[in-house]
Amino acid sequence: MEAVHDHHAADHDHHQPSGLMRWITTTNHKDIGTMYLWFSFIMFMVGGAMSMVIRAELFEPGLQFISPERYNQMITLHALIMVFGAIMPAFVGFANWMIPLQIGAPDMAFARMNNWSFWILPVAGSMLVGSLLAPGGAAGTGWTLYPPLSVQSGMGMDMAIFGIHLLGMSSIMGSINIITTILNLRAPGMTLMKMPLFSWTWLITAYLLIAVMPVLAGAVTMLLTDRHFGTSFFSAAGGGDPVLFQHIFWFFGHPEVYIIALPAFGVISEVIPAFSRKPIFGYASMVYAIASIAIISFFVWAHHMYVTGIPLTGQLYFMYATMLIAVPTGVKVFNWVATMWRGSLSFETPMLFALGFLFLFTLGGFSGLVLAITAVDVQLQDTYYVVAHFHYVMVAGALFSAYAGAYYWLPKWTGHMYNETLGKWHFWLSLIFFNMTFFVQHFLGLAGMPRRIPDYALQFADFNRISSLGAFGFGLSQLLFLYIVIKTIKGGKKAEANAWGDAPGLEWTVPSPAPHHTFEVPPVIK
């Protein structure tokens, strides 16, 4: 059977496969973007269910529901699934949908490879989730997979290793596609310094991904050979060092933080100008800030390793280098605020999520600065303060930004306006429950509660109970989003081409919903 017909481009809608085959064989960036977004939401539900188990176990001291081993597996898979299965695919979904529309390209540069990047993900996701059924259960090392524990674990660890290999392949192919599309397929006149900031953030993010995903692949390959083929990379008896793994892992892991954060910045940089009815303040400085953050992110990795015995000079260097990141990040935060200054503001759901992002991500950035100080971090390492910090960045940062983007572009994707009242409910419930869950964890961490332990001392009980109740509320509120999206797909007020009246960007010049093929002949940008 030959599914690839050689027809002229003009009649290429005639032999499209339908039903399930449409989605399996598609080469259309919009279809693939949609699949990424749904996959991401499904994994978000799976990873979210795991966090509900974690918070149920922590609802009160003692062991209630699951064994400590299962608890370790829950925290490990929760993190791996949320990072690689939910947040990253969500932003790749946005990239697939929006980059060709924003830069006036007919599709992604490599449309078939784009399909493959997506269809590797369900294989990898099944491997991660399926590892719960492996003899001995899933990896229970935490997502950082530190040896020697990861060298000693069972089959579930191998499933995690090969799952990560597959996720890496998908990310690298996806990134090559994005970077090539942006560098090669911009419409005539769309110079780099005219390009929308969401596309800019993805250009840099794709570069980061191509640089560090292979390093992660190398790290887990060394784990694999240490486990099964007798190498000694992480064994002192053979002249290696378990800390070597931490260096390689965090050389990947710290840029990974910005791989998640930069596209989130990109979405916010689209939403805030649209609802302030002003162009972004300091466009060029935004671009330079993105690039600076990306470059510095390669040189700060050992701030995750202050207590591993690295030399004092090393600790000092990594402390100062880490704090340096606050400068370009501060530039971005001030630019967003200055964009709103004297703007004609309105507060639809995307703008609410963007404002929530602005406040809470900045808080997460500040607690990051606290943790960057070596002397303080020695006290706070592996406490709930760290958990609180990175959930402010990952949830109130990346997830809120993804919601801002989803509400902002839903009219373009579906052709309908979502229900504004429900959207606002979703925002306020998320905001309140998020803070209820994670704000108190700062206090728990400062009081010394360690992370990754299923039981805790009595004095931590009250704050943990508040946090668990907040988590259940947050989890339930996210179902509201699913309902809103399905409702919007099925119907609702017709969306105009420019759903927000005067939002900037090429994507708002095509009809809503965006036709299957757009910009087959590139527009000319003046």
């Binding site: 496969p17 078939r112 290999h165 292979p214 007798g230 990379f233 060092d241 260096h247």
Partner: protein
């Protein structure tokens, strides 16, 4: 931008990617089973590999037909160039992880294990020297000398870079005989390299007591040279495909990016070898 092809070529829906995913699923699940000694493992990996080869033939076959059918404008050509460059960059970073491990063990972990901090506590008789298989390795082993097979291999790969460039000149000047001979020479040099590398491994295992399990020296030596050898094998395979395409009359002086992509890849493998020769074998 080219005027005659104003539309960028966007391919029709394709079933090759999902077949590739099937191949990866079989190989991934098979590898997990194999390393855990489940009997079905090797069969699953073998089946996955067959599916992968089928997919590669089908997918690249489609691309070659489209290319020879004149569907690729200059803009598509540009996409391929960016794509291949970034792919090679990802490969560079993969090797960087292993070179980083080598650097770390040589300058940090082995000296630390022998330093005053640990002396007399864990490993009293361990001294800081390279090559080292670590304090727990009780046997004797002989490290691989640089000026035997490795030096010959360096010459072979450097010459293969030259013959490949000579073949490219032939293609640019439309001298097909020079192109074919240059390619055949390059492939022969590459295959000889792989053969010598295999001989070296056999020598290491049978006479030098140098194995993958020989502490951190064995680990870094075999993982670095092994991944490099695998890349040479891939490169030689791709060169062979290009040779067959040349013999079927493919490529024109102004339209032959597949040839150039493989040449870039070959030169990349060459540069990695030079680093290996200096950092693994020599110094």
């Amino acid at each position: 931008m080219s005027q005659q092809a104003s539309r960028y070529f966007v391919p029709q829906p394709s079933h090759w990617p999902i077949i590739g995913s099937l191949a990866l699923a079989l190989m991934g699940a098979g590898a997990v089973m194999w390393v855990n000694k489940v009997a079905a493992g090797p069969y699953s990996v073998a089946a996955g590999f067959c599916v992968l080869v089928y997919m590669l033939f089908g997918w690249f076959g489609t691309v070659i037909r489209e290319s020879e059918g004149g569907k690729y404008s200059k803009l598509v050509d540009g996409s391929f160039r960016w794509g291949m460059s970034w792919f090679i960059f990802s490969e560079v970073m993969f090797f960087a992880a292993f070179f980083g491990a080598l650097f770390y063990t040589r300058t940090l972990s082995v000296p630390d294990l022998a330093s005053a901090d640990n002396l007399g506590l864990l490993y009293p008789h361990f001294s800081d020297m390279w090559p080292s298989a670590g304090p727990g390795f009780k046997d004797k082993f002989t490290p691989m000398a640089a000026w035997g097979i490795p030096a010959i291999n360096t010459l072979l790969l450097l010459s293969s870079g030259a013959t490949l460039t000579w073949a490219h000149w032939g293609l640019l000047k439309n001298k097909r005989a020079q192109l074919t001979i240059g390619l055949i020479l390059t492939i022969l040099l590459g295959v000889t390299f792989i053969y010598l590398q295999a001989t070296e491994y056999a020598e290491a295992y049978s006479h030098l007591n140098l194995k993958l399990t020989t502490g951190v020296y064995g680990s870094t030596f075999f993982m670095l040279t092994g991944f490099h050898g695998f890349h040479v094998t891939l490169g030689a395979t791709m060169l062979t495909v290009i040779l067959f395409r040349v013999m079927s009359g493919h490529f024109k002086p102004d339209h032959h990016f597949a040839f150039e992509a493989v040449a870039w890849y070959w030169h990349f493998v060459d540069v990695v070898w030079l680093l290996l020769f200096v950092l693994v074998y020599w110094l």
